[in-house]
Protein backbone atom coordinates (compact mmCIF):
# COMPACT_ATOMS: atom_id res chain seq x y z
CA UNK A 1 0.00 0.00 0.00
CA UNK A 2 1.38 3.38 -0.96
CA UNK A 3 2.02 5.36 2.16
CA UNK A 4 0.50 8.67 1.21
CA UNK A 5 -1.95 11.04 2.79
CA UNK A 6 -4.96 9.72 0.95
CA UNK A 7 -4.22 6.26 2.26
CA UNK A 8 -3.88 7.63 5.77
CA UNK A 9 -7.37 9.03 5.41
CA UNK A 10 -8.78 5.77 4.17
CA UNK A 11 -6.88 3.93 6.86
CA UNK A 12 -8.53 6.10 9.51
CA UNK A 13 -11.97 5.02 8.36
CA UNK A 14 -11.91 1.66 10.05
CA UNK A 15 -14.12 0.04 12.64
CA UNK A 16 -12.47 -0.53 16.01
CA UNK A 17 -12.32 -3.99 17.56
CA UNK A 18 -15.49 -3.41 19.56
CA UNK A 19 -17.43 -2.38 16.50
CA UNK A 20 -16.18 -5.40 14.59
CA UNK A 21 -17.14 -7.75 17.40
CA UNK A 22 -20.57 -6.16 17.83
CA UNK A 23 -21.31 -6.29 14.11
CA UNK A 24 -20.28 -9.94 13.98
CA UNK A 25 -22.45 -10.80 16.98
CA UNK A 26 -25.41 -9.05 15.36
CA UNK A 27 -24.88 -10.95 12.11
CA UNK A 28 -24.69 -14.23 14.02
CA UNK A 29 -27.87 -13.45 15.92
CA UNK A 30 -29.79 -12.53 12.80
CA UNK A 31 -28.52 -15.63 11.06
CA UNK A 32 -29.66 -17.76 13.99
CA UNK A 33 -33.12 -16.20 13.96
CA UNK A 34 -33.39 -16.71 10.22
CA UNK A 35 -32.31 -20.34 10.28
CA UNK A 36 -33.76 -21.73 13.48
CA UNK A 37 -37.31 -22.93 13.29
CA UNK A 38 -39.54 -21.19 15.74
CA UNK A 39 -40.65 -23.31 18.64
CA UNK A 40 -44.26 -22.51 17.97
CA UNK A 41 -46.98 -23.94 20.11
CA UNK A 42 -49.70 -24.39 17.56
CA UNK A 43 -52.85 -25.98 18.83
CA UNK A 44 -52.32 -24.47 22.25
CA UNK A 45 -54.41 -21.39 21.71
CA UNK A 46 -56.24 -21.79 25.01
CA UNK A 47 -52.96 -21.86 26.90
CA UNK A 48 -51.75 -18.91 24.94
CA UNK A 49 -54.81 -16.90 25.91
CA UNK A 50 -54.06 -17.60 29.54
CA UNK A 51 -50.45 -16.66 29.02
CA UNK A 52 -51.37 -13.41 27.36
CA UNK A 53 -53.66 -12.61 30.26
CA UNK A 54 -50.85 -13.44 32.65
CA UNK A 55 -48.54 -11.19 30.69
CA UNK A 56 -51.03 -8.36 30.58
CA UNK A 57 -51.35 -8.62 34.36
CA UNK A 58 -47.61 -8.53 34.67
CA UNK A 59 -47.43 -5.41 32.59
CA UNK A 60 -49.62 -3.66 35.10
CA UNK A 61 -47.39 -4.92 37.87
CA UNK A 62 -44.12 -4.16 36.19
CA UNK A 63 -43.27 -1.45 38.64
CA UNK A 64 -43.51 -3.83 41.55
CA UNK A 65 -40.67 -6.15 42.29
CA UNK A 66 -42.56 -9.42 42.33
CA UNK A 67 -45.73 -10.79 40.88
CA UNK A 68 -47.34 -14.11 41.67
CA UNK A 69 -49.66 -16.08 39.49
CA UNK A 70 -51.27 -19.43 40.06
CA UNK A 71 -51.37 -21.45 36.89
CA UNK A 72 -52.45 -24.91 35.89
CA UNK A 73 -50.18 -27.96 35.81
CA UNK A 74 -50.23 -27.93 32.02
CA UNK A 75 -48.82 -24.47 31.91
CA UNK A 76 -46.22 -25.50 34.45
CA UNK A 77 -45.11 -28.18 32.01
CA UNK A 78 -45.12 -25.65 29.22
CA UNK A 79 -42.85 -23.30 31.11
CA UNK A 80 -40.75 -26.17 32.36
CA UNK A 81 -40.17 -27.17 28.75
CA UNK A 82 -38.81 -23.80 27.80
CA UNK A 83 -36.99 -22.81 30.92
CA UNK A 84 -34.09 -24.78 32.32
CA UNK A 85 -35.44 -26.89 35.15
CA UNK A 86 -37.80 -25.10 37.50
CA UNK A 87 -36.65 -21.59 37.01
CA UNK A 88 -34.63 -19.25 34.88
CA UNK A 89 -33.70 -15.60 34.52
CA UNK A 90 -34.36 -13.89 31.23
CA UNK A 91 -32.40 -10.75 30.37
CA UNK A 92 -34.08 -8.14 28.20
CA UNK A 93 -32.27 -5.84 25.82
CA UNK A 94 -32.58 -2.80 28.09
CA UNK A 95 -31.16 -4.64 31.10
CA UNK A 96 -34.46 -5.54 32.73
CA UNK A 97 -34.63 -9.06 34.06
CA UNK A 98 -37.42 -11.50 34.67
CA UNK A 99 -37.00 -14.54 36.89
CA UNK A 100 -39.47 -17.35 36.67
CA UNK A 101 -39.85 -20.18 39.17
CA UNK A 102 -42.31 -23.03 39.45
CA UNK A 103 -43.08 -23.95 43.02
CA UNK A 104 -45.77 -26.59 43.32
CA UNK A 105 -48.96 -25.15 41.84
CA UNK A 106 -47.78 -21.60 42.31
CA UNK A 107 -45.76 -19.87 39.70
CA UNK A 108 -43.57 -17.09 40.93
CA UNK A 109 -42.48 -14.41 38.53
CA UNK A 110 -40.03 -11.80 39.69
CA UNK A 111 -39.36 -8.77 37.55
CA UNK A 112 -36.54 -6.32 38.17
CA UNK A 113 -37.80 -3.34 40.12
CA UNK A 114 -35.78 -0.76 38.23
CA UNK A 115 -36.99 0.17 34.78
CA UNK A 116 -34.20 -0.12 32.24
CA UNK A 117 -33.55 2.68 29.77
CA UNK A 118 -35.25 3.44 26.50
CA UNK A 119 -33.57 1.60 23.66
CA UNK A 120 -34.54 4.38 21.26
CA UNK A 121 -32.35 7.45 20.90
CA UNK A 122 -32.80 10.43 18.62
CA UNK A 123 -29.88 11.18 16.32
CA UNK A 124 -29.97 13.83 13.62
CA UNK A 125 -33.72 13.67 13.42
CA UNK A 126 -33.72 9.89 13.16
CA UNK A 127 -34.90 7.39 15.75
CA UNK A 128 -32.22 4.80 16.32
CA UNK A 129 -32.93 1.68 18.34
CA UNK A 130 -29.98 -0.14 19.89
CA UNK A 131 -30.50 -3.82 20.45
CA UNK A 132 -27.94 -6.58 20.80
CA UNK A 133 -25.10 -4.58 19.38
CA UNK A 134 -27.14 -3.40 16.41
CA UNK A 135 -28.24 0.14 15.74
CA UNK A 136 -31.31 0.29 13.56
CA UNK A 137 -32.96 3.33 12.05
CA UNK A 138 -36.67 2.90 12.79
CA UNK A 139 -37.83 6.34 11.69
CA UNK A 140 -39.42 5.18 8.46
CA UNK A 141 -41.07 2.15 10.03
CA UNK A 142 -42.74 4.25 12.73
CA UNK A 143 -43.70 6.93 10.23
CA UNK A 144 -45.21 4.55 7.68
CA UNK A 145 -46.57 1.65 9.72
CA UNK A 146 -46.67 2.98 13.28
CA UNK A 147 -44.69 0.05 14.62
CA UNK A 148 -41.33 -1.69 14.46
CA UNK A 149 -40.32 -5.07 15.76
CA UNK A 150 -37.07 -6.97 15.90
CA UNK A 151 -36.63 -10.67 16.71
CA UNK A 152 -33.63 -12.46 18.13
CA UNK A 153 -32.78 -15.47 20.22
CA UNK A 154 -30.78 -15.01 23.40
CA UNK A 155 -27.97 -17.21 24.64
CA UNK A 156 -30.53 -19.59 26.16
CA UNK A 157 -32.26 -19.84 22.79
CA UNK A 158 -35.35 -18.02 24.00
CA UNK A 159 -37.02 -15.99 21.27
CA UNK A 160 -37.36 -12.26 22.01
CA UNK A 161 -39.32 -9.74 20.00
CA UNK A 162 -38.68 -6.08 20.71
CA UNK A 163 -41.56 -3.74 19.85
CA UNK A 164 -41.52 0.01 19.39
CA UNK A 165 -45.08 1.12 18.69
CA UNK A 166 -46.76 4.47 18.23
CA UNK A 167 -49.12 5.36 21.09
CA UNK A 168 -52.75 6.16 20.43
CA UNK A 169 -52.23 9.41 22.31
CA UNK A 170 -55.59 9.52 24.07
CA UNK A 171 -56.23 10.06 27.76
CA UNK A 172 -56.06 6.34 28.54
CA UNK A 173 -52.72 6.07 26.86
CA UNK A 174 -49.50 6.55 28.75
CA UNK A 175 -47.46 9.16 26.93
CA UNK A 176 -43.91 9.34 28.25
CA UNK A 177 -43.01 9.55 24.56
CA UNK A 178 -45.17 9.33 21.45
CA UNK A 179 -44.18 5.68 21.14
CA UNK A 180 -43.82 2.80 23.59
CA UNK A 181 -41.30 0.06 24.09
CA UNK A 182 -41.94 -3.56 24.96
CA UNK A 183 -40.02 -6.81 24.62
CA UNK A 184 -42.17 -9.86 24.18
CA UNK A 185 -41.16 -13.51 24.60
CA UNK A 186 -43.50 -15.13 22.05
CA UNK A 187 -42.82 -18.70 23.12
CA UNK A 188 -43.44 -17.93 26.77
CA UNK A 189 -46.17 -15.32 26.55
CA UNK A 190 -44.27 -13.04 28.87
CA UNK A 191 -42.80 -9.59 28.51
CA UNK A 192 -40.39 -7.06 29.97
CA UNK A 193 -38.11 -4.20 28.97
CA UNK A 194 -41.17 -2.00 28.98
CA UNK A 195 -41.19 1.81 28.73
CA UNK A 196 -44.23 4.06 28.43
CA UNK A 197 -46.59 1.19 27.68
CA UNK A 198 -50.31 1.24 28.42
CA UNK A 199 -52.21 -1.94 29.16
CA UNK A 200 -54.38 -1.28 26.10
CA UNK A 201 -51.38 -1.28 23.80
CA UNK A 202 -49.87 -4.34 25.49
CA UNK A 203 -53.09 -6.22 24.92
CA UNK A 204 -53.22 -5.19 21.25
CA UNK A 205 -49.72 -6.58 20.70
CA UNK A 206 -50.49 -9.72 22.69
CA UNK A 207 -53.66 -10.35 20.70
CA UNK A 208 -51.76 -9.90 17.44
CA UNK A 209 -49.45 -12.68 18.57
CA UNK A 210 -52.42 -14.86 19.33
CA UNK A 211 -53.73 -14.16 15.83
CA UNK A 212 -50.34 -15.18 14.46
CA UNK A 213 -50.46 -18.49 16.25
CA UNK A 214 -53.86 -19.10 14.77
CA UNK A 215 -52.32 -18.76 11.33
CA UNK A 216 -52.49 -15.06 10.53
CA UNK A 217 -49.47 -13.20 9.22
CA UNK A 218 -47.90 -11.26 12.10
CA UNK A 219 -47.72 -7.96 10.22
CA UNK A 220 -51.32 -8.27 9.07
CA UNK A 221 -52.39 -9.11 12.62
CA UNK A 222 -50.45 -6.18 14.07
CA UNK A 223 -51.85 -3.76 11.54
CA UNK A 224 -55.36 -4.92 12.31
CA UNK A 225 -55.04 -4.92 16.10
CA UNK A 226 -53.11 -1.67 16.24
CA UNK A 227 -55.53 0.11 13.91
CA UNK A 228 -58.33 -0.77 16.33
CA UNK A 229 -56.26 0.32 19.31
CA UNK A 230 -55.32 3.67 17.71
CA UNK A 231 -58.92 4.29 16.74
CA UNK A 232 -60.36 3.38 20.13
CA UNK A 233 -57.84 5.10 22.36
CA UNK A 234 -56.72 7.98 20.20
CA UNK A 235 -57.62 11.60 20.71
Amino acid sequence: MTNNHINQLFDAIAPDENQKENMWKAIERQRRVAHEPSREMRGRASYRKILISLSASLLVLLISATAYAAVSGDIEKLYDRYFNGKGQTVNFANGDTLHYEINGKNTKVAISAVNGPWLVKKSWGRLIVSVNGEKINITEALKKKGYFYYSYRDDNNILHRLYIVKNAGGTKDYAERWYSQMEWLPELGMSGGVRGLSQQLAQAIGMAHLDEEEGKDLDAALQDRLAKYWKEYGN
Binding site: D11, I13, S123
Partner: protein, 155 residues
Protein backbone atom coordinates in the same frame (compact mmCIF):
# COMPACT_ATOMS: atom_id res chain seq x y z
CA UNK B 1 -18.14 -17.08 7.01
CA UNK B 2 -16.08 -16.05 10.01
CA UNK B 3 -12.97 -15.95 7.81
CA UNK B 4 -14.69 -13.97 5.06
CA UNK B 5 -15.84 -11.48 7.69
CA UNK B 6 -12.38 -11.09 9.16
CA UNK B 7 -10.79 -10.68 5.74
CA UNK B 8 -13.23 -8.07 4.48
CA UNK B 9 -14.99 -6.26 7.30
CA UNK B 10 -12.65 -3.26 7.31
CA UNK B 11 -12.87 -2.81 3.57
CA UNK B 12 -16.67 -3.08 3.55
CA UNK B 13 -16.97 -0.68 6.46
CA UNK B 14 -14.70 1.85 4.71
CA UNK B 15 -16.74 1.77 1.53
CA UNK B 16 -19.97 2.07 3.52
CA UNK B 17 -18.59 4.97 5.52
CA UNK B 18 -17.51 6.78 2.36
CA UNK B 19 -21.04 6.58 1.02
CA UNK B 20 -23.12 6.85 4.19
CA UNK B 21 -20.81 9.13 6.18
CA UNK B 22 -21.65 7.95 9.66
CA UNK B 23 -20.80 4.95 11.76
CA UNK B 24 -24.35 3.96 12.72
CA UNK B 25 -25.54 3.52 9.16
CA UNK B 26 -22.22 2.00 8.11
CA UNK B 27 -22.49 -0.64 10.82
CA UNK B 28 -26.05 -1.44 9.76
CA UNK B 29 -24.95 -1.69 6.15
CA UNK B 30 -22.03 -4.01 6.96
CA UNK B 31 -24.41 -6.37 8.77
CA UNK B 32 -26.92 -6.31 5.92
CA UNK B 33 -24.24 -7.00 3.32
CA UNK B 34 -22.88 -10.04 5.17
CA UNK B 35 -26.40 -11.34 5.71
CA UNK B 36 -27.07 -10.95 1.99
CA UNK B 37 -23.89 -12.88 1.31
CA UNK B 38 -25.06 -15.65 3.63
CA UNK B 39 -28.46 -15.86 1.97
CA UNK B 40 -26.99 -15.84 -1.52
CA UNK B 41 -24.91 -19.01 -0.95
CA UNK B 42 -22.35 -17.56 -3.34
CA UNK B 43 -19.11 -19.47 -3.65
CA UNK B 44 -15.90 -17.76 -4.65
CA UNK B 45 -13.03 -19.00 -6.76
CA UNK B 46 -10.46 -17.30 -4.54
CA UNK B 47 -10.12 -14.41 -2.05
CA UNK B 48 -9.63 -11.91 -4.89
CA UNK B 49 -12.92 -12.95 -6.46
CA UNK B 50 -14.54 -12.72 -3.04
CA UNK B 51 -13.12 -9.25 -2.47
CA UNK B 52 -14.22 -7.92 -5.87
CA UNK B 53 -17.71 -9.36 -5.40
CA UNK B 54 -18.03 -7.71 -2.01
CA UNK B 55 -16.81 -4.34 -3.32
CA UNK B 56 -19.45 -4.33 -6.05
CA UNK B 57 -22.12 -5.60 -3.67
CA UNK B 58 -21.26 -2.95 -1.07
CA UNK B 59 -21.21 -0.12 -3.56
CA UNK B 60 -24.57 -1.14 -5.01
CA UNK B 61 -26.09 -1.60 -1.58
CA UNK B 62 -24.97 1.84 -0.40
CA UNK B 63 -26.20 3.48 -3.58
CA UNK B 64 -29.59 1.84 -3.09
CA UNK B 65 -29.70 3.03 0.51
CA UNK B 66 -28.88 6.59 -0.53
CA UNK B 67 -31.56 6.53 -3.20
CA UNK B 68 -34.20 5.43 -0.72
CA UNK B 69 -33.25 7.64 2.15
CA UNK B 70 -35.22 10.66 3.11
CA UNK B 71 -32.23 11.51 5.21
CA UNK B 72 -30.45 14.81 4.94
CA UNK B 73 -26.83 14.69 3.96
CA UNK B 74 -25.82 16.39 7.15
CA UNK B 75 -22.91 14.67 8.87
CA UNK B 76 -22.31 14.66 12.57
CA UNK B 77 -18.69 15.74 12.65
CA UNK B 78 -18.12 14.49 16.17
CA UNK B 79 -18.74 10.97 14.93
CA UNK B 80 -16.19 11.06 12.16
CA UNK B 81 -13.09 9.03 12.90
CA UNK B 82 -9.98 11.06 13.47
CA UNK B 83 -7.37 10.59 10.79
CA UNK B 84 -3.80 10.31 12.03
CA UNK B 85 -1.38 12.63 10.31
CA UNK B 86 2.31 12.67 10.62
CA UNK B 87 2.87 16.33 10.09
CA UNK B 88 -0.34 18.32 10.32
CA UNK B 89 -2.65 16.56 12.74
CA UNK B 90 -4.73 19.67 13.29
CA UNK B 91 -6.17 19.41 9.80
CA UNK B 92 -7.13 15.72 9.97
CA UNK B 93 -10.85 16.16 10.68
CA UNK B 94 -11.12 18.85 8.06
CA UNK B 95 -9.38 16.79 5.40
CA UNK B 96 -11.39 13.69 6.13
CA UNK B 97 -14.49 15.82 5.84
CA UNK B 98 -13.27 17.03 2.46
CA UNK B 99 -12.73 13.47 1.32
CA UNK B 100 -16.21 12.44 2.40
CA UNK B 101 -17.65 15.50 0.71
CA UNK B 102 -16.28 14.43 -2.67
CA UNK B 103 -18.86 13.02 -5.10
CA UNK B 104 -19.23 9.25 -4.58
CA UNK B 105 -17.91 8.37 -8.01
CA UNK B 106 -14.53 9.96 -7.23
CA UNK B 107 -14.26 8.56 -3.71
CA UNK B 108 -14.76 4.95 -4.70
CA UNK B 109 -12.29 5.22 -7.57
CA UNK B 110 -9.66 6.90 -5.38
CA UNK B 111 -10.18 4.26 -2.72
CA UNK B 112 -9.88 1.31 -5.08
CA UNK B 113 -6.88 2.76 -6.85
CA UNK B 114 -4.85 4.04 -3.91
CA UNK B 115 -5.86 1.95 -0.94
CA UNK B 116 -6.82 -1.35 -2.54
CA UNK B 117 -4.23 -0.92 -5.29
CA UNK B 118 -6.42 -2.04 -8.16
CA UNK B 119 -5.36 -1.03 -11.66
CA UNK B 120 -7.48 1.28 -13.80
CA UNK B 121 -8.47 -1.71 -15.93
CA UNK B 122 -9.53 -3.75 -12.90
CA UNK B 123 -11.58 -0.86 -11.53
CA UNK B 124 -13.20 -0.36 -14.92
CA UNK B 125 -14.20 -4.05 -15.02
CA UNK B 126 -15.47 -4.00 -11.48
CA UNK B 127 -17.57 -0.85 -11.84
CA UNK B 128 -18.56 -1.62 -15.43
CA UNK B 129 -17.19 1.60 -16.83
CA UNK B 130 -14.74 2.49 -19.56
CA UNK B 131 -11.07 2.70 -18.60
CA UNK B 132 -11.00 6.26 -19.91
CA UNK B 133 -13.86 7.16 -17.58
CA UNK B 134 -12.00 5.73 -14.61
CA UNK B 135 -8.85 7.63 -15.61
CA UNK B 136 -10.83 10.86 -15.85
CA UNK B 137 -12.50 10.28 -12.51
CA UNK B 138 -9.20 9.43 -10.90
CA UNK B 139 -7.63 12.62 -12.25
CA UNK B 140 -10.60 14.73 -11.19
CA UNK B 141 -10.67 13.10 -7.74
CA UNK B 142 -6.95 13.70 -7.32
CA UNK B 143 -7.35 17.33 -8.30
CA UNK B 144 -10.19 17.84 -5.86
CA UNK B 145 -8.25 16.13 -3.09
CA UNK B 146 -5.15 18.11 -3.95
CA UNK B 147 -7.12 21.30 -3.56
CA UNK B 148 -8.36 20.05 -0.20
CA UNK B 149 -4.97 18.92 0.98
CA UNK B 150 -3.06 21.84 -0.39
CA UNK B 151 -0.77 19.55 -2.37
CA UNK B 152 0.00 17.18 0.50
CA UNK B 153 -0.31 13.93 -1.32
CA UNK B 154 1.86 11.73 -3.46
CA UNK B 155 0.74 10.77 -6.90
Amino acid sequence: MDDIYKRNVEMIYRICFMYLKNSTDSEDAVQSIFLKLLKSNTSFADPEHEKAWLIVMTRNYCKDILKSWWRTRKVELARLPEAVWRDDGDRSGEVLDQLLALPDKYKIVLYLYYFEEYSVREIANMLIRKESTIQTQLAKGRTLMKLSLGGHYDK
